[in-house]
């Protein structure tokens, strides 16, 4: 426990603690505002009446001088004071001179990349370090072109866009922020899992026998040709398995959601979603069933 406090208060980890507090606060704020809005709408108010009802009757537009300029000025002063105090209280870390021959254990990337480093436990580097970051960036950029629900533009609501919000919150809070925290606070020497009350013992060894997907479920050697085809099938079927079932339902095809989206958008959306969901699925397979690779090939493993 003593050591956990040391890790939390390490100068470079303090920002993570600050971030966690802010993320919790703003999540609470968004939910509070959204629930307020949804309730007001349920009572039959119009969108405009429901948003910030308490300020109704104020002018729509305000003069930048003095209103906005004053706010910017105050915030700039506030941020400056905050940074000054932070910089007086806490020194930036500086370790020994760089030495390629002394590898620290654990070796960690900068904290904001630790979510990706954490995924290295579950995926090979070409997926965790190259494919996924690119998919994340492209996927984020695609959001406005996939989520074409016209409701909820410019105000908080949960009821008018439940799907978009749940997917985003799952990605942001669990796959990004939580992974950063795990990578920082729970991963010690050898990138092994350490609970806060456990000491980061450099000599700790965890016996873990991992087996591949085809060995586990079919008793087929994953390196054999048969194992190859089973792995390929599992990976190749994952995507249609997520993407197509809703399409088989006539009620879904007729739904307003699908009608608006169209087939192309739907396919882009569902393939991105399948990629995103593959991450927790692989984690579960790994943690609970000790499955290392789904698909083993001569050139790469998945």
């Amino acid at each position: 426990m003593h050591q956990f406090w040391e890790i939390i208060s390490k100068a470079d980890n303090v920002p993570i603690v600050i971030m966690l507090v802010l993320v919790c606060f703003f999540t609470w704020l968004s939910f509070r505002e959204a629930l307020k809005y949804d309730r007001a709408r349920a009572e039959g108010k119009t969108v405009k009446q429901a948003v910030y009802a308490e300020e109704a009757g104020f002018p729509e537009r305000v003069a930048v001088w003095p209103h906005l300029v004053r706010q910017e000025f105050l915030v700039a002063i506030g941020v400056t004071i905050f940074l000054m105090l932070w910089s007086i209280a806490l020194d930036a870390p500086l370790e020994e001179l760089a030495n390629p021959n002394v590898t620290p254990n654990p070796s960690k990337a900068p904290w904001y990349f630790l979510g990706l480093q954490e995924l290295l436990v579950y995926f090979d580097p070409w997926i965790a370090g190259v494919m996924l970051p690119n998919v994340i960036v492209v996927g984020l950029m695609a959001i406005p072109y996939i989520d074409i629900n016209p409701k909820g533009s410019g105000y908080y609501t949960l009821r008018e866009r439940p799907l978009a919000i749940s997917i985003f919150l799952f990605g942001f809070l669990f796959l990004w922020v939580l992974m950063v925290c795990i990578g920082t606070f729970a991963r010690g020497p050898g990138w092994l899992w350490f609970w806060p009350w456990q000491h980061w013992d450099v000599h700790r060894v965890v016996a873990e026998t991992n087996i591949d997907f085809s060995d586990k479920f079919f008793g087929v050697d994953s390196a054999s040709p048969m194992g190859f085809w089973i792995g390929l099938a599992a990976v190749a079927l994952w995507f249609p398995a997520v993407m197509f079932p809703p399409l088989l339902l006539p009620s879904f095809r007729r739904s307003e959601f699908f009608q608006r989206l169209g087939i192309v958008r739907y396919l882009v959306f569902s393939s991105l979603l399948a990629t995103m969901l593959a991450t927790p699925v692989k984690m579960i397979l790994r943690i609970f069933l000790h499955v290392k690779y789904i698909w083993v090939t001569e050139w790469f493993n998945v």
Binding site: D12, V64, S87, L97, P144
Partner: protein
């Protein structure tokens, strides 16, 4: 002495009027002029939707991100006066900053904490834009510009990490850039990399580091990306971002 007469004398002089285009009395006309006739102020429109003022709507995170970028530019420029991007000097320069340069430690701290804070504020800004649904038409493209800014912000922070040339930065960047080895086709350990003749001496990681290891060339490359190339690119995209906020009708609000 007549203060009012003096004031009038000064404010009607040719010198004063060549700088200040309008009087400073507080009335609707000067409120407009204060924004219109000043280069920095005129980044703003004259009037904005009321929602732009609500902290619970903007969390002020875009503005804070921008302000932190400015703080980083100023503190970073000052740090550059004391820093040589060569292996022989870099680490010693940091020590020199910490122990000999007046307020050097404070300067270094401000730069580092502002950098971390900017990474956090840019994430939170994205979070708020999502939660208020502000990426919806007509603001789709500005969201895309934003995602580029998010990526660039993290790259800025990452390239800066190496510059102290200590164990922390060295290993963090080693771990980070080792990923590039596994790039499909372009990395020597990536799928099909060997089929394209990739080795540790010609693959994408080599191009990033200017070598097969994080060493002197990598330090210089990180320095140039960090101090020149990335800040310029970010400045261009921030300009586009702000310009688009205005062109898209200002801050989002319920219609």
């Amino acid at each position: 002495m007549d203060v009012d007469a003096l004031k009038k004398e000064v404010t009607t002089s040719q010198l004063w009027r060549s700088v200040m285009r309008h009087d400073l009395e507080d009335n609707p006309r000067t409120r407009v002029l204060k924004v219109m006739s000043n280069l920095f102020m005129h980044l703003h429109p004259v009037r904005i939707p009321r929602f732009g003022l609500y902290l619970k709507h903007t969390w002020c995170m875009g503005g804070i991100t921008f302000f932190l970028f400015l703080v980083l530019t100023v503190t970073g420029t000052l740090l550059m006066f004391y820093y040589h991007p060569v292996k022989e000097a870099a680490y010693a320069d940091i020590k020199y900053l910490e122990f000999d340069v007046p307020f050097g430690m404070l300067l270094r701290n401000m730069h580092r904490w502002a950098a971390h804070a900017m990474v956090i504020s840019v994430w939170l800004h994205m979070y708020r834009v999502f939660m208020t649904g502000s990426y919806k038409p007509p603001r789709e493209f500005n969201w895309v510009v934003g995602v580029l800014l998010l990526t660039l912000t993290m790259l800025l922070s990452f390239t800066g990490y190496l510059l102290t040339d200590d164990q922390l930065g060295f290993w963090a960047v080693t771990v980070g850039t080792n990923m590039a080895r596994a790039t499909p086709l372009l990395g020597h350990e990536g799928p099909f990399g060997d089929k394209l003749g990739m080795t540790p001496y010609n693959d994408i990681r080599f191009a990033m580091l200017g070598g097969s290891q994080v060493a002197g060339n990598a330090l210089l490359r990180a320095y140039i990306w960090h101090c020149i190339a990335l800040p310029l690119i970010v400045a261009v995209f921030i300009s586009i971002h702000f310009w688009r906020v205005r062109k898209d009708g200002g801050i989002s609000a319920p219609q």
